[in-house]
Amino acid sequence: MYKYTLKRLAIAIPTFFAVLIITFTLTVLSPFDPVAMMMAQFEGTLDTLARDDVIEKIREQYGLNDSYGVQFTRWIGRLMQGDLGISINGQRNVLRMIVKTFPISFQLGLAGAVVTTLLGIPLGCLAALKQNTWIDYTIVGGTLGFRTVPVFVLAPLLLMLFVLVLDIMNVPRGWDGLFQTKVILPVCILALGPLPVVVRQTRAAVLEVFTMDYVRTAKMKGLEMWRIIIRHILRNALIPVVTTLGFVAEGLIVGSIFLDSIFAIPGFGGVAESAFRGFDYPVIMGVTMVSAVMIILTNLLVDLIYPFLDPRIKFE
């Protein structure tokens, strides 16, 4: 296993650098000017006629007037020293921004993935066992219904319900750690997004396994249904679900853009959102690096889990 892991990591290194080079090239060569975009947000509140002077001065400070080659060499040189540069939009150290925000999103995303798993797999099983009944329709239709409402609509609606109509809470904002009541709503909303995917994946997998001979044999032997589900059906049905869950978790961690914004959570999603909105390329590069690492590690983790679920799969 260790050898396999090391081999996979070694293969990942060129992939990682290829992603970085492509992102850097696209960002630097794009027609968008991050400084102009930063200044646009101050429109009307700063001496806007002096905008061109200010833009020119700041572009010079960040070396944005240099050629692609010079910028690339400088960036790689800094990267080798662990320096991801200074955010153009926020004038802060990019590495510090990521180090401060990523763990928050990691916890939030992981919590969301756990909730998705805990709800999605049982609901998917139930929907399969009650195939084509009202229970099946309600589970599949209900979860899909939530999925069709975008987060930036769903969250304010739920807040209006809980805060203004039912008056049972204040608007949950900020981050004081995972085990706080204010985290419940964001985590639930986060979990709702990928829930139908997991439900449908589980449902389909269980339905497929349900017709297998060994399940019929287990039934004929008189085993209780819950034992059949856990020992015989789920174990085999979970392989595609695990693949899905891996990417669900990765997506939840790096992709909670709207939730960060709505609940003022100082997370990685907010950093990514403002970076892409402002074309803040030092931050875009940092975000891309972290996302690339996450995807590589998630892939690896999912592959490492397969053999435990299916003994026929070997580390090669």
């Binding site: 509140t45 401060k100 763990p103 100082p266």
Partner: protein, 557 residues
Amino acid sequence: MKSRTRLFHAVALLVILGMVLSACAAPVAPADSSGAAMADEGEEMAGRPLPDDAAEEQVIRYVTRDLSRLNPASESGFGRPWISHMWMPFFLRDRNHNLQPWLATDWEVNDDNTVYTIHIHPDAAWSDGSPVVAQEAIDYWSWAISPNCISCWTFLRLGTVAGAQAVIDGEADTISGLTAIDDKTLQITLESSNPTFIASMAHYNTGFVKMEDVNADEFAADANTRVNGPFQIEVWDLDAREYVVVQNPGWWGDTKPFIERIEAQWSNDENITYIMWQNGEADVAHWFTNIREPLRAENPDLFVLIPYATNFYFALHTSKPPMDDINVRRALLHAVDWDLAIGAAYEGSRNERIMKTHLTPELPCFVADNWPDFGFDPELAKQELAASKYGGPEGLPKIRISSGGSSPNYLRTAEIMAEQWKNVLGITDVEIRPGWGDAWGQDVDLVNVQRNSWGATIPDPAAMINGLWKYYAVPHEVGLDDEELGAMMAELSSLDPASAEYCEKVSAAEQRLLSHYYFLPMIWDLYEYVVQPYVKNFDANVDNNWSTLLDIYVAEH
């Protein structure tokens, strides 16, 4: 057995990874109290009795979208309301732009307006008790305009000081035109005569930080940064999104503020701000979008206008066809019913703020009808287009409108303009793209209508009109060409704002500028706070400072 070992290793790896990351994400530690500790060393201010109707807790909860790093040299967002109460500029403006003594007591200027002498308040001191001295302003300003200060724009205020350009260019370390006559007297020598320079000394950009506290080129103040004003930072963490400002207990001023604490909350989603407002979780809020309008309908008294001088408009590039013909420009203006257009585009929220002149109503020298030919006149528009060298809509080159941002208000205005041109003038070859020039790629040079804005935080109408002229006389911008206007503008720079002819000449220059029909108007923008009725004495000045902060208090509610 082997698979159990593997499972154990995998689970152990996951647990360790989780623990490491959780440890990294421990809740933000309380702000370093050393700043407060330093402040405590100062002499405690004499108490100021609260008004009879004051609440026991004097805390303001402020919700806004833009909170950026705190550094007087770079602040530009909506975190600026108290920056002049932490690092005091020499003077402070009230709502009507009058200068009040602030860090300085008074100033003098020589006869030709080239040498200003500023007297710092003799009691002025930092929160650690050390006196504020003139050399500290020189040191900080020299850094703030240098290339070392990342994303700083103090050079806009001090660029006219003798020797400033050398520092801006990185050729000198210190601005040679600044001299500390003694600890409490600063002499500023300008490159050339400027009767309105003192206005810069009331701008938040000219507040200064002790250089020992400036720890990085991208310096951002925190709880350890000493202040010389009545408030200081408890926590200002952009990454953790925590922003709290508290009283500086060692402030040297005579009048202690009533407000003990301001808790700023970042809200990027204006719907959420609205829910917070309705749930009583915000005392002061700021919205950029029209979402605030239902509140205005309910209670207009909640709104406090920030007296910014801001115009939003579509600049017409007079050097590019078909805008090179003034008759076309006039026709485009007269073909649009601006009351209806702006009313529809801004959903009724700017009906009283349709731009009819450059100077806004909040500025000195404002004359409401200084553009007498402004207005909707379809018949006149048709005649003007027919009189142009293009003869009518058929021969008219394509109009390319860049909306300058993707705000729905800008796009709607552009679409309504195009629709009215089609209806009134028969012009159909119009293309609108959201964004700035970069949205046009290779065609960027063909853009002939560019949405733009004009705003300033120093209420100097002559400088504003002059600035517009200089900007739009540049060929690649709009390319205005008017020798006589150039002479009028040159004269404005030397006028004393207190002189009798000042406003007369400013108005004449503005009228001549407007007569070039080089833009299509949108609005005098409306930046405002929404303030709960129990927050008393709230007001703001032209650079968005809560100028009455010393007198603001929260009443029982």
